[in-house]
Symmetry: D5
Subunit: 120 residues, 10 copies
């Protein structure tokens, strides 16, 4: 499973809320309906708790979608689920900016808050 | 009716509030007063509830305005009514950025909130 | 009087608050002190109530300033007074972005809220 | 025939070689294979001889392609033939910059020189 | 006559060929057909011989077109004639970049060479 | 003293809160430590009360710093003090965007609120 | 072989030299040394003789490199060989603009002229 | 220790809250894992209390990282700790915008508030 | 005399023709007619022969114009004369891009070729 | 010696003249006069003969300048000498675009042609 690719390292400053953002303009997957490749920029932003996401493993995680058939909405929600499960951040957002298809470009954005989840 | 062109698919993550944005820079209709073509970029943004808007049907819906005589304000309000009726989103906004006519460019923006409607 | 040039049409969706913005980059008037022409972009933004501003009459209204001697601050405040009197909007803003004179460019912005006025 | 839409007026300075360029970013036609609309910016550049192209008739000429099924290469070559026949310029170029289709954008450029034709 | 507005001063370095360029983005005249204002950026470039064009008189010369009804092609060719008559340059070019009208923007460019004229 | 250069005129609409912004990209002073010239863009924004700042006097005021040795932080705080003393605005902000020195560019921003001062 | 994917159609204007340019910003292949994906924009420009390149087949041709291990220089030279073999153009250029790797971005450009080949 | 490089001078206006921002696009350090150089723009923003940061010492402080092996998250958190210890500001933020590595660019942002610390 | 400020160092590669370009966006002088400051970007480009221009002395040379009353055309021609006299280059060009005055911006460009001079 | 870092591989298409360009925006060295770091973008462009430059070795070669004291003109001429000695190209150009120092940015460009050298 692609989630297993992700690695972490200890947050060097867990007593401070601070923000990390990784922007990856070379994401590509495959449209499950047409078999055509999709292209996107993925922007991951988060406030770490005890763990930070290791950058090289993030690159390999994104590459694991290269030949996977998956819709835009699934890409972003699955990524958020995977990142939250592995990093357990205080806050996180994943945004995918997908290239034009049929004259229409799309952006999908999903967000996670640790305290909201705790309330449930 | 053009609203019938729109198709939906089940929201893959209905338990999470997230945002989908579709930007279509190739919209064209006809000015009912002068008979001249109008051109616009239409930006649709929404938080899905149980349904997502299917992208190819959205393209065909926009194309159904190609030879229709309709004012800017009508374009945007009719689109919002159509999208809300078909997708029943938690929140939605439609913005039309219309090209310069007589040295003046125009932007029309309309918004829908499910909870506001519920209050009525 | 230039206010009489402005024409309106019935708002096609008066039960919804929505925003209309008209941007006119070809405004010109005359400096009353130096007699030199001034140039500006005028941005009019409003939430209509029962009436919308007709676009061609707006163009003619702006052109009526072409040979008028008037200061920046007067241009914007007079426009806001004229537009509010004719359109009776729920909210309105007029912004003038004036070209560089003596190495300094200027922006003047004035705003109207119907409910504030009602309070008085 | 769409060529008949074009009108001319006498060149006010026929004894001087000078250059006129008209850029039209709102061109649209229809793909004959897919039935989908195409969008382009058309740039017409020429050195007039005895005649200049009238601007309003040029706008109507471009609009006559709105619902015509025609390939990119045909659009540009037909336009050049039509403009040369009506304006009889000393030199002329037509360039069409077509929007992305299937992830690929296209530019087609064709040129005419009166003296080359005279040599034949 | 507007040509009389132009003033000159002696070229401080007549034994060297060098280039002077003046760009004026605030030019406006009136369309003789529709009575609507036209707007343009005028770019004047020249190699001076014995005279240079005085900048303030150039500004006043451009302003003399403010309420004149005149076509694009006439604006540029008349300007070139006026500037050449007053400045007698070694080389000169006048370019007018006119704002969009009916969805089409236009550029007109005319050039003068002293030695070409001498050959005639 | 440079403050005496500043002139005012009566606010034409004192019963309305509106915003005036003047942007001056040609500010220059001298670094008191190195004697080297500093360059900045100064942005002055304010809500007038009974007085507006006269534009030509503002230009001369900025020029009075041309050969003055003064640090960035002093420039902005002194300007705000001077403008507030002369214009007595409802609200005011002065921002200086200073060019790169030693590979580092700097922005200094100071703000004034009439009601805050009244509270003291 | 990927060359077989390419299809052509008859040039609609073979008696005129004109230029066709296709820009594809979504090209991706694999680095044969590291196994990492490479990303590029491919710009194909040519003067057709009897044949034009069909656009959809060009898209599929580019996609055939998606999981191929190949160096930059090979990508561009192989493409030029394939396109020339299938289209037999009068002139052709292929340019690949490859994304940054190790802090260095690369552009490779190769050109073909029919008459040069004829000389050999 | 690099913190000792930093110098301060008395805040010329300690009774006013105002904002100072220093942007340094020439930061470079070394990745401790790969030994490869990293490059970043560092943006330091703060509200001074009694002390301001001296600009030349800031430049030397940044240069002291040139051959240091250190991760992104450590760079930013260590800088914030150093700046807060030396300047004792009312508020401060440090943001590092790191160049692309493996197709992914990163931004790390950390913030300090004097009153929050006082509450602890 | 300001020319004396300029210093040189031996060209490290006199047997190769190569190009050096220095761009200085912080040039300022004074208009001799109005007493108002002028601002420009000065671009110096040359092919060195036996000498190169020392960069710090170039900065001081530009600063020597700060309070000098001088016209645009004189600035550029005097600079070219000074640089040629001191550096004796194989080729040199000086270009001044002057900020907008009265709505008109200006560029003055002068060029020197060693071999042309030798011919005289 | 840093030249020894450079590695090559056989040109896959030696019978065709084509162009390879590598752009490295992360170059840094040290000013021998001030000890301050310099930053530049290095653009290497060449037509290969029998050899191509290996990209990873190019990165390491650039890094070998990191703590070297060297002037702009020397950087570019030494690089060109090193690249020509190792790659023996048909044509090559090295351009360094150096960041602003003392308000002046610099570009140094040197070129090599195999046939010119052969003539000597």
């Amino acid at each position: 499973m692609s989630r297993d690719i992700l690695e972490t390292f200890p947050n060097p400053k867990p007593d401070r809320d601070y923000v990390i953002e990784h922007t990856a303009p070379e994401f590509t997957s495959v449209c499950p309906r047409t078999g055509q490749p999709d292209f996107a920029t993925i922007v991951l932003t988060y406030v770490p708790d005890q763990l930070c996401l290791e950058l090289k493993s993030l690159k390999l995680y994104y590459q694991s979608f290269r030949n996977m058939g998956i819709f835009y909405e699934d890409v972003i929600n699955r990524m958020l689920d995977d990142f939250v499960a592995v990093v357990q951040p205080r806050w996180m957002e994943v945004r995918g900016e997908f290239n034009t298809r049929g004259g229409i470009s799309s952006v999908v954005t999903a967000e996670y808050r640790a305290d909201e989840e705790d309330d449930e």
